[in-house]
């Protein structure tokens, strides 16, 4: 049999909503492996239902969860009579989906090490086929709806709203599944619909059983389920496949009750058998239940929440399970060495004295949480502490009222949370006469972040297109800033290098040979992250400045030095990207006015006649171009005209002049003058005479290249193609150009 890589089952299209369930959960594995699979990496929403006792254990550990309750929601489920144990996943797309039902938990062992049984069924509405698969999807959806009742905390409310929203858009969830529950099609069975044992008997419907095959790692200590099968179907051959040292087969109980089982040991070291299967043969037909249910009464009598898939007539499939690559051997029950691990048990709840039950971040700054601080604790003061995932110390502690049981809403100051790019851990810290006492930490539900809505297409594609031409840089930064905070923005700008190409062979797509010295010695000061230092706005300003300077020096100047006409498009791309970035962030008051004017002036000089400060004396791009093409200026004029090169240069100059203008009279920026009264008209006339030296250099460059000065129409065309100005701004620019023309 060919083994199936579980993560590969998640390489389908991105899900609108991914609903996953597991007994225990390994966030590190999930984030590093499963969350990178296509179906989840760009899923709109992801919810993981897990056992509440195991959730407690997770909180007890210093678990490295970077995205928990930020990119995906964890919903703890507490079932009063037993554990939450299903391993059922539903990936929902617009009119299709995928159901995964198996024995594996969402842990490293479950997905890559244990011997597990997995099943995956894709369904697609509206093509007339596979109605039973759609019914399966609907059953799975209903299962998750039913879980809400047993879910805990704010996560429950969040996921409930998701399910309701999804249901409104998905027609298939309303289709009836009844017609497919005929014992001849795939069905999802779970204990929220009643005990599996009852459903098994209903499915078999009194047919005489010839053979029953049980694969399970866990059994009742007294062999209850084995006894029950024996008494219900006394003539049935009972085969059990187990693994020595791991399966807790109750050898003594079996021998004592004289249950005649045919035992086979599976040899698959170092893998642990964790699969659960119950298959049966009747006269001419058969079926199997495969999924999460161990062969214990807790699982089969519905004390646990379990989910299984019913597969009709599975004989060929079950026969194919064992072959030369995975074989079994018969053995005497008395010789079997059982493992000492027991079936999952109901976990403890959090300490009754001090506990944080749930916490959700509403909007950007409103923290709502419910908690308990028992009077028996004798707390003198109580505070809530906030840490970013991985931070060793809390970055903030805020006092909260001491109440026995209650909920509270806190407004968190912007700087505390603004720069956190991943999960946030909060806990209660009580000062007591005996010292400090801290509750278990909880991952704050960042509700606004849990829905992934790429605002400008696909981020990854955006990133590659940005590197190519830089045009959508401000928009991408906007998206990145919203998603991951300003620090991510600073980091991104610090590493972003727009591509350089001018058609010369080998300049593109080749790994650069670098020869640089490193100086590893660190000064005797703590790194910033040690203090969890927050980024100040000046960091973004600085990052933009460095980005612009880097691209002036390493891209535009390089074009100017080479003067290759094939690079004119790339020159313009970079030029426009710089102007757009400066303009957008000038509007947001991040970039200062003088900075914008300074950099636009530099870019214009590099584009035309060059900057005197360049030590190697290289000229501007137009001068070099005209020198290289002195024998055929027409090519240059034609190509520059086609690209509206002069229009872009004049447009950039106008932007700089408009910024310069307020120093004349008006307090407000020229771009915001709307009324064209007499005084403003005079000012606008003056605008085009500002920065005269720059105007001269621009004209000199254009003249040398034989390119005409751009008409107002061409300048407006360039301004519009920047796609960064509001209608009012454009109107102001248009009227300024018109006045000047007159």
């Amino acid at each position: 049999m060919k083994y199936l890589d579980f993560p590969s089952l998640l390489d389908s299209e991105p899900a609108n909503l991914a609903l996953l369930s597991t007994f225990n959960f390994d966030p590190d594995y999930f984030e590093r492996i499963l969350l990178r699979c296509r179906a989840l990496s760009k899923a709109r929403r992801i919810a993981i239902f897990m056992d509440a006792g195991q959730w407690m254990q997770l909180r007890l550990q210093d678990t490295p969860a970077r995205w928990l309750n930020r990119r995906y929601l964890v919903v703890p489920v507490r079932y009063s009579s037993g554990v939450f144990h299903p391993k059922l996943d539903l990936l929902i797309h617009d009119d299709s989906g995928q159901v995964l039902c198996g024995s594996n938990n969402l842990t490293r062992a479950g997905c890559s090490h244990n011997l597990e049984l997995v099943n995956s069924i894709r369904f697609h509405c509206g093509n007339g086929h596979g109605a039973e698969h759609v019914a399966l999807g609907k059953s799975a959806f209903r299962f998750f709806e039913m879980l809400i009742e047993h879910s805990q905390g704010e996560a429950s409310a969040v996921v409930e709203s998701w399910l309701k929203e999804e249901k409104r858009f998905l027609g298939w969830t309303e289709e009836t599944a009844a017609s497919h529950q005929n014992g001849e099609s795939l069905q999802l069975l779970h204990t929220l619909d009643g005990s599996l044992w009852d459903q098994l008997q209903k499915t078999i419907a009194g047919a005489p059983l010839k053979r029953m095959l049980v694969i399970s790692p866990f059994y009742d200590a007294d062999g209850e389920m084995l006894k029950r099968v024996r008494s219900t179907w006394p003539k049935c051959r009972l085969e059990v496949i187990a693994q020595q040292h791991t399966s807790d087969l109750p050898v003594a109980a079996i021998e004592k009750a004289h249950i005649p089982i045919e035992l086979r040991e599976v040899g698959c070291r170092p893998r642990r058998l964790h699969a659960k299967l119950l298959a049966w043969d009747t006269e001419g037909t058969g079926g199997c239940f495969v999924g999460s249910a161990n062969f214990t009464s807790a699982a089969w009598d519905g004390r646990n929440i379990e989910a299984c898939l019913f597969i009709p007539n599975p004989k060929k499939l079950t026969e194919a399970l064992f072959d030369s690559t995975l074989h079994t051997r018969s053995m005497h029950v008395g010789d079997f060495v059982a493992g000492n691990e027991r079936e999952p048990q109901l976990g403890d709840d959090e300490s009754a004295l001090l506990s944080l039950r749930s916490a959700v971040l509403i909007g950007a700054h409103s923290l709502q949480f419910s908690y308990r601080c028992s009077a028996a604790l004798g707390a003198i003061a109580l505070s809530i502490t906030i840490r970013a995932g991985g931070e060793p110390r809390p970055r903030a502690a805020i006092g909260v009222p001491i109440v026995e049981d209650g909920s509270h809403v806190l407004q968190i100051e912007q700087q505390v949370l603004a720069e956190i790019r991943g999960s946030i851990l909060i806990s209660l810290l009580a000062q007591t006469p005996d010292g400090e006492r801290e509750s278990l930490p909880l991952w704050l539900i960042q509700e606004d972040r849990l829905t992934y809505e790429p605002s400008v297409g696909d981020s990854a594609n955006n990133q590659s297109s940005i590197v190519e031409d830089g045009f959508l840089l401000p928009e991408y930064l906007e998206e990145l800033g919203k998603r991951e905070g300003a620090s991510a923005l600073v980091e991104f700008l610090g590493h972003l290098n727009l591509h350089f190409h001018d058609g010369a062979k080998g300049s593109a797509n080749r790994r650069k040979f670098r020869l640089r010295r490193s100086d590893p010695f660190h000064p005797d000061v703590l790194p910033e992250w040690w203090h969890s230092a927050l980024f100040a706005p000046s960091d973004l300003r600085k990052a933009i400045g460095q980005f612009v300077r880097r691209h002036e020096d390493r891209r535009l100047k390089k074009h100017a030095k080479r003067g290759n006409i094939n690079g004119m498009e790339n020159f313009l791309d970079i030029f426009v990207a710089i102007v757009r970035l400066l303009y957008v962030y000038r509007k947001r008051t991040v970039v200062e006015r003088d900075t914008l004017i300074h950099h636009i002036s530099r870019c214009l000089l590099i584009a035309t006649t060059g900057i005197k400060e360049i030590k190697d004396g290289s000229k501007g791009y137009l001068l070099t171009l005209s020198h290289n093409l002195q024998g055929n200026r027409k090519v240059l004029q034609h190509f520059a005209g086609e690209l509206n090169f002069g229009g872009y240069l004049d447009a950039a100059l106008l932007i700089a002049q408009m910024e310069k203008a307020p120093t004349c009279k008006h307090e407000q920026p020229a771009s915001e003058w709307v009324a064209v009264d007499g005084a403003a008209k005079e000012e606008k006339k003056r605008i085009r005479s500002l920065l005269p030296q720059l105007r001269t250099q621009l004209d000199k460059g254009l003249l040398a290249a034989g390119i005409r000065r751009a008409t107002p129409k061409r300048i407006m065309s360039a301004l519009e193609s920047f796609e960064m100005m509001s209608k009012d701004d454009l109107a102001t620019y248009r009227s300024t150009l018109a006045i000047h023309m007159h």
Binding site: S12, F23, E116, P270, L321, D519, P523
Partner: protein
């Protein structure tokens, strides 16, 4: 409308297994902590760049290629490799069929085999190949950082680097000087000219002459023309760019100075002696303690090395715990073990009894319920919270000859008979606690800050003493007075199991370098791990370079001495060194 790629259901399929790949540095403390600190303390001297002659030979290869190469088709990389092979054979021939001592040339093993059957023949380097990866790969970065080549920053327009290839590298003034000095002793040799020709053939005899003049060991000869310049470089006796070169200089001076003092005291100088000297300021001999006086000019660098050894001992403790845990899990086979039972095994009666006997303490001091504070109280450290004062007190109490001294604990952990039993886990835990407690006094000092800044780039993955100390404080508050059992449970869970699992993803995207599998309550291992890999490999390289430069020498009994020339050099250099 979305399309499904596979409409057929996948039913009853076994899940695929990801097998475990080779595990090295299972907790990442060597690569992420030790290597970072050592790279700052001994910049440009790595664990694989231990022979000083290579620092002139490789620049000379570039020089010779540009000056004499006659095969227009040969690229620089191949040309260097070719000359390296010639020198390898030359040195083997010069040592009469043996490799150089103290670190042979790359490819020596194959060269020896070849030499055995071609002692007086001709070597045709178009057909001979001793090694796939030349030494150039190992030395290249160090040479760049030492300023032997013209770097991008020195070019007028850095963008032009995009046009460059390896063939375009140029020697800097320093590189040219090194090369010409080497050339002065080998440049006129027939073999050198023949190797540069298209034929690539020369006699073994002529290669021997090359080896006798330009071999690795011959650098120690006072007449070697490149030796003084290499001293200038390694000891930063010339203007060099960056902060790291003076740090290396002081590290090398510290090695020389400690060797000198220990020679005087009649003690052996080796890695253990060096670590004891910087960590304790003293050494234990069979009869007595020998105090070391670090000159004030070297006090700063000695303290930084002390930080290195805090990390070193912490790493030994963690790897001891990892190795001990894996040993237990190997015994438990597929069944695995619950972490709580591993913790309990540390405090079983026989283990506690053995620990008490080993360290001469009462059994109460190391029971599951007692605390580190209680254990150290038996040695006279006041029962209190762990603060800088208590840390200093521990420092003054647990000296080199104490039963709880880190070197002794390390010695025990490295012994397989301890490591494979719960006693090994217990000793590792004591080593961890002792090291972290001793380190506590440095928190908030400039050395503590440097430690964090130099070694921790990721607060979750980079286990270094300051972070471990913070984690313990964050978890327990007053961890020093918590029970050993609580501490053991946390340490095993967070710093061993979780750290190893996290690190496995750092080594490969699939995370397959992981020996530990967690199954609900039980932990299993998928293989064994039977070594403590923590070390200080750069120290060995530094010592070898000092030997090559004629400043240290090793006797036939492997005792290390400072040479008379080394003493004069040291005295002169220390006089130049400002007090920090």
């Amino acid at each position: 409308m979305a399309k499904t790629s596979n409409p057929n259901p996948v039913l009853l399929r076994w899940s695929k297994h990801t097998p475990t790949s080779k595990v090295q540095d299972p907790l990442g403390t060597s690569l992420r902590g030790s290597a970072r600190l050592a790279s700052q303390l001994l910049h440009c001297i790595t664990s694989i760049t231990s022979r000083a002659r290579y620092f002139t030979f490789i620049p000379w290869c570039v020089y010779d290629y540009k000056l004499r190469e006659q095969n227009p088709a040969a690229d620089l990389r191949k040309a260097i490799s070719l000359r390296e092979q010639a020198l390898t054979l030359g040195c083997v021939s010069n040592h009469d069929g043996k490799a150089c001592q103290g670190g042979a040339l790359v490819g020596s093993r194959n060269a020896i085999k070849w030499f055995e059957s071609h002692r007086s023949g001709e070597a045709d380097f178009r057909r001979i190949s001793f090694v796939k990866n030349p030494a150039l790969d190992a030395y290249y970065n160090s040479l760049v950082n030492l300023g032997v080549f013209v770097t991008d920053e020195q070019l007028p327009d850095t963008d032009e680097a995009t046009e460059h290839t390896f063939d375009d590298i140029e020697l800097s003034a320093l590189g040219s000087e090194l090369a010409s000095r080497y050339d002065s002793c080998v440049g006129r040799l027939k073999a050198v000219k023949q190797i540069a020709s298209s034929e690539r053939q020369c006699s073994v005899k002529s290669l021997k002459t090359w080896g006798s003049r330009g071999g690795l060991c011959e650098l120690a000869d006072p007449l070697a023309p490149d030796r003084s310049l290499l001293r200038d470089i390694f000891f930063c006796r010339m203007p060099m760019q960056g902060e790291s070169h003076p740090v290396r200089r002081r590290s090398l001076l510290l090695i020389l100075e400690l060797c000198r003092q220990l020679n005087e005291a009649g003690c052996v100088f080796n890695h253990s002696a060096f670590s004891d000297a910087v960590y304790y300021g003293e050494l234990a001999t069979e009869d007595e303690k020998v105090s070391v006086h670090v000159p004030s000019a070297l006090d700063d660098i000695a303290t930084r090395w002390r930080m290195f050894y805090f990390h070193y001992y912490m790493s030994v403790a963690f790897e001891g715990l990892f190795s001990g845990l894996v040993s237990r899990l190997v015994d438990a086979e597929l069944q695995g073990e619950v972490l709580a039972s591993v913790v309990s095994s540390i405090y079983e009666e026989n283990v506690v009894g053995e620990i008490a006997e080993l360290f001469g303490i009462s059994t109460d001091a190391f029971s599951g319920q007692s605390s580190p504070a209680a254990l150290f109280a038996t040695l006279g450290v006041p029962l209190s919270r762990l603060d800088a004062q208590v840390s200093k007190r521990i420092d003054s109490t647990v000296r080199i000859n104490s039963g709880l001294a880190e070197p002794l604990l390390e010695f025990l952990i490295r012994r397989p008979q301890f490591r494979h039993r719960s006693t090994g886990l217990a000793v590792s835990l004591i080593l961890l606690v002792t090291t972290i407690a001793r380190y506590r006094q440095w928190e908030g000092t400039k050395y503590g800050n440097w430690f964090i800044s130099a070694a921790a780039y990721d607060r979750h993955l980079d286990l270094i003493p300051p972070l471990v100390s913070t984690y313990l404080a964050s978890r327990f508050g007053d961890w020093w007075n918590c029970s050993w059992r609580e501490i053991a449970a946390f340490v095993l869970s967070r710093f061993i199991v979780q750290q190893h699992r996290d690190m496995s993803y750092e080594k490969s995207a699939s995370g397959d370098s992981c020996l530990l599998q967690v199954h609900e309550t039980h932990i299993c291992t998928t293989g064994s791990y039977d070594k403590i890999g923590v070390g200080n490999p750069r120290f060995g390289s530094a010592v070898q370079i000092l030997k090559d430069l004629g400043l240290l020498e090793q006797t036939e009994d492997d005792d290390m001495f400072i040479t008379p020339e080394g003493e004069i050099f040291l005295t002169a250099e220390l006089a130049q060194e400002p007090v920090r």
